[in-house]
Amino acid sequence: MAILIAIPTLLIALMLQSAVISRINLLSGSADLVLLILAAWALQGRIKNAWQWALIAGALVGFVSGLPWFVPLAGYLLVVGVARLLQRHVWQAPLLAMFTVSFVGTLFMHLLSLITLRLAGNPLPFGDSLSLITLPSILLNLFLAIPVYSLLRDLAGWLYPLEVEA
């Protein structure tokens, strides 16, 4: 059931990202809704299919974006990896973990994009990319982190209800 809901959820997130979120810019940066959804989902302790969500998200974004297909795939897998790691160690502070994953995930995703595009011959200046794209994107992602986490926590609670011991 949870894996079935991954495709429509991520598809809607990608449509929102492409049609709305990408048009809301701070300097040249924009939030990454798909990344936030993956981070929030992977931080839910009860779920077991976060890696599949990352694969689906990576495939969808890789298909739509002009980035090489493996960049979003690798980036989202790493986001889920960091989230699962933090979920095991700082599980008592989920919001702190969400902020940390959003920050680290965005930073890594952008570094991976930047390095790949530069290797492909795209003349992206490192300093300008950091100040005009990455830092504003991190800020926007941190703004969206809490509402996205709340939504995904509710979704996880609906899909994986807590078992009441008799």
Binding site: S18, V64, S65, G66, N122, P125, S137
Partner: protein, 281 residues
């Protein structure tokens, strides 16, 4: 007979009195009396009428408030519906104006054939300046086709699916377009940037570039057809120790507000990659 006479007399007396009263009234002898009587009557009727209406109001107000509230709700719903309609119509007017401008542009440039498309999204990555349009290979769109609006060059088709295409805008950092400065009659290279600004590079130091000079595509390299409008020169940077001049370009197209574009479908880009010499091993 005895009884009928007094009756006749009575009738005559009454008639005479009546005529007398009428004559006196017509003569104005009763005006003050009739005025005072009529004022009293009118005053009394006004009081009775106002009291009656007050009683009627008192009895009917609760029902009216309920009906007025219902009517108010209906009218508010009607206003909301009309406001939505006004917004939709304003949007349609804006779209019609844009489409009309596109049609005018297509008519003014009959050498090309166009396919109009709506911009439905942007690339999820902020490093890339790509947009997604709602037509694809089913509509005859192919990779490399140039894309314009009535205001000038937008970019070219980068990837195509059956029903959608991805365009690389000329503001993308990886975009490079061969252009010509109309007045200076010199060629240059138009490049994008991560901020979305356009600049000209590779302008010879010998050339005098003037502010306001119009930038058009040159057609060199085969990637774009010639003479497509790009923008105007807004500033020039000329340093003696550099090989080339550079210039900042103000594009005529607002790339952040793109709604409709036109793909030039009869232009086949030339792939010159095999002709570029590679370094021998």
């Amino acid at each position: 007979m005895r009884q009928s006479f007094p009756r006749s007399l009575q009738t005559i007396v009454i008639t005479l009195v009546a005529f007398g009263l009428v004559a006196l009234a017509l003569g104005g002898y009763f005006s003050s009396l009739s005025n005072s009587i009529s004022q009293s009557v009118v005053g009394a009727q006004t009081w009775i009428s106002s009291r009656y209406l007050a009683v009627v109001d008192f009895l009917t107000v609760p029902r009216d408030v309920a009906s007025m509230r219902q009517r108010n709700t209906e009218l508010e719903a009607e206003v909301a519906r009309l406001q939505t309609q006004v917004i939709e119509l304003q949007q349609q007017v804006t779209e019609t104006q844009i489409l009309s401008a596109l049609v005018d542009f297509a008519r003014a440039n009959p050498e090309n054939t166009y396919k109009a498309a709506t911009v439905i999204g942007r690339d999820p990555s902020p490093f890339l300046r790509y947009v997604i349009i709602n037509i694809g290979s089913n509509d005859g769109i192919r990779r490399g086709m140039p894309v314009v609006t009535d205001q000038g060059l937008v970019g070219r088709v980068d990837a195509v699916t059956a029903n959608a295409s991805r365009l690389q805008l000329i503001t993308d950092p990886a975009s490079a377009v061969n252009v010509i400065l109309q007045n200076a009659r010199t060629e240059a290279l138009l490049v994008g940037s991560i901020t979305g600004d356009l600049s000209l590079d590779m302008i010879s130091q010998d050339v005098t570039v003037q502010l306001g000079d119009v930038v058009l595509t040159s057609g060199l390299g085969g990637g774009y057809p010639p003479n497509l409008l790009v923008g105007q020169v807004v500033s020039v940077r000329k340093l003696d120790y550099e090989l080339f001049q550079q210039a900042a370009i103000q594009p005529l197209v607002d790339y952040n507000q793109l709604q409709f574009v036109m793909v030039i479908t009869n232009f086949k880009p030339v792939d010159i990659a095999p002709l570029i010499p590679t370094q021998a091993p």
